[in-house]
Amino acid sequence: MTTSPLLDATGVAKNYGAVAALRNASLSVLPGEVHALMGANGAGKSTLVKILTGAIQANAGRILIRGEARDIRSPAAGRRAGLLPVYQEPSLIPDLDVLSNLRLTGTPVEPFRAWVRELGIPDLDLRDTARDIPLAVLRVLDLARALAVEPDVLLLDEMTAALPANLAEKVLEVVRRQGDSGRAVIFISHRFVEISALCDRATVLRDGETVGVVDIVPGVEEKIVELMLGTRIVKTHVAARSAAEKAAPIAARPRITVRNLRVGTKLSDVSFDLGDGEVAGVVALEGQGQDELFSALAGSIRPSGGTIEVDGQPAKFSHPIDAIRAGIAYVPGDRSEALAMQRSVRENIALPFSAAFRNWGPINMHRERAKVASAIERLQIDTRAQGEVQRLSGGNQQKVTIARWIAADARTILCFDPTRGIDVGTKQEIYKLLRELAGNGKSVLFYTSELEEVQRVCDRVIVIFGGRLVDIFPVEEADEPALMRAAYGLPRGVKADVGILADPTANTSDAPEAAP
C-alpha cells in the first residue's frame, strides 16, 4: 500500500513516576483500515489511546495526522483533529441524561439515534440518566456518540469486552463498514476471533514498545502471541496437580453448597458444591452473572433466592463480615476495589484483623510483623515501595490482595480474575499458590477470563452463561475449545466454530447465535 497514513505516531513514551507505561510505541494507520492494537495486559494499549486522543500527555514522541505534526493537548483538541475514542471505561457523565451528554460533546442527535438503532438498541430513551443505564448499553452509546460525528479515526479500547454476544456482533459489523467507507479504526481486543474477522493489520505492543506490525492473514495468531509475550512465552500444558493430590480422598461433606441461587435478573438457579482441597474454576464470557455469583458468596450483595450452606450449615450473609466469619474471603478482580491505595503494604495485609470490634485496640506489632512477613514471603511480594500500595506494580498490588487472606488464614478464597493485569511470571506464581492452598485443604473458587488458565489450576470447571449454570466439566475434558463452546452456551460435543480454535474451513464471521 502506498497511500500515506492517516495517523502516524512514533517514539511515544509515557512515564508515571518510576513506572514506564510506554517506552517507544509507534503506530501507523492507513485510511480505510481497521487496525488492531494488541498486547498483553499492561502492555500500554490504553495508554497509547489516551495519548493519541489527548486525554494524557506523552513524555516523548511525535504524532502526525495526515502528514502534519499535531500536538493534541486535550480530548477536545483530539476531537477537532478527527480522532474519536471509546475508552476502556464508559465516559458518559453519570448524572446527565443521554441528550445532555450529546450536547456536551456537540454530537448531532439524529445520526446518534440512527447509530444506536443500527447497533441493536431500538428503544433508547434519550432522557434516561447515564447512571441508570446498564454498562453494556453505555458502551454502545459511547460508540454511537463517536460514530455520529463521523470521525477520521475511531479508537476502540476493548469495546466488545463488556458486551453480550448479540451486541458485540452488531458492533463488529458497524466497525467493518467504517473501514469500508474510507475511515480508519484502531481496534483493541483480546479476542482473536474478532481481530481475524475484522482487522487488516495489527500493531503489537510489548512492555510499552511496538514489537511488530503484521498483516492479518489466516494463521497469524501464533506469530502475534509470540510477539506479545516475547521470550517469556510459556506454552506448556502441564497440569499443576500432582498425582498425590489427585489421589487425595474427596471430603464427605462439601465445604460450600450452593442451591438455586438467584440474584435479581442477573443470576438464576445456580447450584454447585465446592469441596475442601479443591480449586473450582468458573468460566463465563463478560457479564454472564459471574460478578453477582461471587458478590453473593462474599456477602457483599444479598441474593434474591436460593440457599448457601457452609459446612452443612445454612448461611445468610448480609455483610462481607458474615462471609469472612464463615471463613470465606473474596479477592475482587479490580485491585482498586480491594486496596487502600495510600496505605502501606503491611496495613493492607493486616486490614482484616482490625475489622472485628475486639481487635480495635492496640496492635501486637511483633505478631503482626511476623504474620505479614510470612505472607509477603509466601507470595514473594516486591516490597521495595511498600510505604504506599499505589506505588507498587500492578502485579504486586494484586498479590497484596491475596496475601491478606493468606495471612488471615481464610478457609475458602473466592478469586475473581486474579491474574488480570499481571505478568506471565507472576501468573505462574499465583497458579502455584492456588494449588498449594488446595493442597493444604483450603477451597478456592476461581473465575478467570483466560481459558488457558483453567487447565493449569482447576480441578473442576463451572460454566455460566446468561446467568445460568450451563455445565460442569471435570478438568480432563476442559480443553479450550470445549470451554469456549460452553462459554457461548453451546452444548458439549457440538463442532467447534468459534475463536482462534475454530475450524479454519468454517466462516469465522458467522459467529454463533447465543443459545440461552
Binding site: 518510576a18 480491594a338 495510600q342
Partner: protein, 326 residues
C-alpha cells in the same frame, strides 16, 4: 529505576524528596519562620512567658483540631465540636455550684456523648453528609444550651479550682495543661498509628469499599469515631473554661473554623486517608503564633484579616507543593 540511582540527583530535588518523606520538617520550618518574624517585629517577645502562653492557647485548638483530624481521615468533618465544648464548659461551670464535681463532670460530658452518638448514627447509618449532620446537631445543641441557661441564671457559675489550675497554671515554666495534653496527644497519635481502630480510620477514608470487603462495618467505625470526637471536644471545653474562666454561651465557637484550618495546615487531607496528628499540633501552633503576630502588627483590622487569610492559603499551598512532589 536503576538509572535514577546512578545519575546524580540535583540538590534541590533531593532536598524536596527529603522533606516530602518527612512532612513534619517543612511544617516546623514554617513555624520557626513565623516565630523569627515575630521576634524581629517585636524584639524580646519570644520569652519563656510568651511560649507558655502560646502553648496554653494552642492546646485547646490542637485538641479540637484532633477531632477534625480524625474525622477528616475518614473523609468527614465535625463542625459540632465548638458547640459541644461550649456545652460541657457551661454545664460544668453551672452545675459545680450545687453538685459534687464528679457529678458535674458526668453531667457535662453527657451532651457530648449524646451529640457524638447522633452524629455517628446520622453519618454512619443514614449516610447524611457529615457537614450537614454536624451542623444540624450543633444548631440543636446551641438551642438546648440556651434553654438550659435560663434555668441556671439564679445559681450563677463557678470555675472549679482544679480546672483553673489546669487551664491557667504554670509549673516551673510549663503550662499545667500539658499534663492533660501530652498524654492525650500521645494517646491520639498512638491510636492512629498503632491500634486497629486507627488503622480503620485511615482505611475507611482511603477506600470504603475495600474495607467493607475486608469485613469492616462502616457504621461501627463511624459511630465510635464521632463519639470519640465529641468526647474530646467536651474535654476541651472543660480545659478551655479553666483557661478563660468566663462561661459564655458561645465560648468555644470561634475555635471551630481554626480547628479545621489547623488540621489542613498540618497536612491532613480533607478527602480522607492521609494525614496525622503530629502535623495538626504544629498546625495549631502555627495558627496561634499567627494570631499573635497579627495582634502585634500595627495595622487596620481589615488588613490583619486579609493577611491572615493570605498566610493560611500560602502555608497550605506551599506545604502541599512540598509534600506532593514525589
Amino acid at each position: 529505576m536503576s538509572t535514577t540511582a546512578i545519575t546524580p540527583v540535583p540538590f534541590g530535588r533531593r532536598l524536596k524528596r527529603f522533606m516530602a518523606d518527612r512532612p513534619l520538617i517543612p511544617l516546623i520550618i514554617l513555624l520557626i519562620i513565623l516565630v523569627v518574624i515575630l521576634q524581629i517585629l517585636r524584639p524580646g517577645i519570644v520569652n519563656e512567658r510568651w511560649i507558655a502562653n502560646t502553648i496554653k492557647f494552642a492546646i485547646p485548638l490542637a485538641i479540637l483540631a484532633g477531632c477534625q483530624t480524625m474525622t477528616m481521615l475518614t473523609g468527614g468533618i465535625d463542625l459540632s465540636v465548638g458547640t459541644v465544648a461550649t456545652m460541657s464548659a457551661f454545664i460544668m461551670a453551672t452545675q459545680v455550684v450545687n453538685q459534687d464535681p464528679a457529678v458535674a463532670f458526668l453531667l457535662a460530658m453527657m451532651p457530648a456523648v449524646l451529640i457524638g452518638l447522633v452524629n455517628g448514627i446520622g453519618v454512619g447509618v443514614f449516610r447524611v453528609h457529615p457537614l450537614i449532620m454536624t451542623l444540624g446537631t450543633s444548631l440543636i445543641g446551641t438551642g438546648c444550651l440556651q434553654v438550659y441557661q435560663r434555668t441556671v441564671i439564679a445559681s450563677g457559675a463557678k470555675i472549679p479550682d482544679f480546672l483553673a489550675w489546669l487551664g491557667t497554671g504554670v509549673t516551673s515554666g510549663f503550662p499545667n495543661a500539658l499534663l492533660l495534653f501530652v498524654p492525650l496527644a500521645a494517646l491520639i497519635v498512638f491510636t492512629l498509628a498503632r491500634t486497629g481502630f486507627g488503622r480503620l480510620l485511615y482505611a475507611v477514608g482511603d477506600n470504603e469499599r475495600a474495607t467493607r470487603l475486608s469485613g469492616v462495618q462502616y457504621w461501627q467505625v463511624i459511630t465510635a469515631l464521632y463519639v470519640i470526637s465529641s468526647v474530646l471536644a467536651g474535654i476541651t471545653g472543660l480545659l478551655y473554661i479553666g483557661l478563660i474562666k468566663a462561661p459564655s454561651l458561645s465560648l468555644a465557637e470561634p475555635l471551630v473554623l481554626p480547628s479545621v484550618a489547623a488540621a489542613v495546615i498540618g497536612g491532613t487531607s480533607i478527602f480522607g486517608g492521609r494525614g496525622g496528628y503530629t502535623g495538626t499540633i504544629i498546625g495549631a501552633l502555627i495558627l496561634t503564633v499567627l494570631t499573635t503576630l497579627l495582634t502585634i502588627l500595627q495595622m487596620p483590622e481589615g488588613a490583619r484579616r486579609i493577611l491572615f487569610g493570605l498566610i493560611v492559603l500560602f502555608v497550605t499551598a506551599a506545604y502541599l507543593r512540598i509534600v506532593e512532589e514525589r
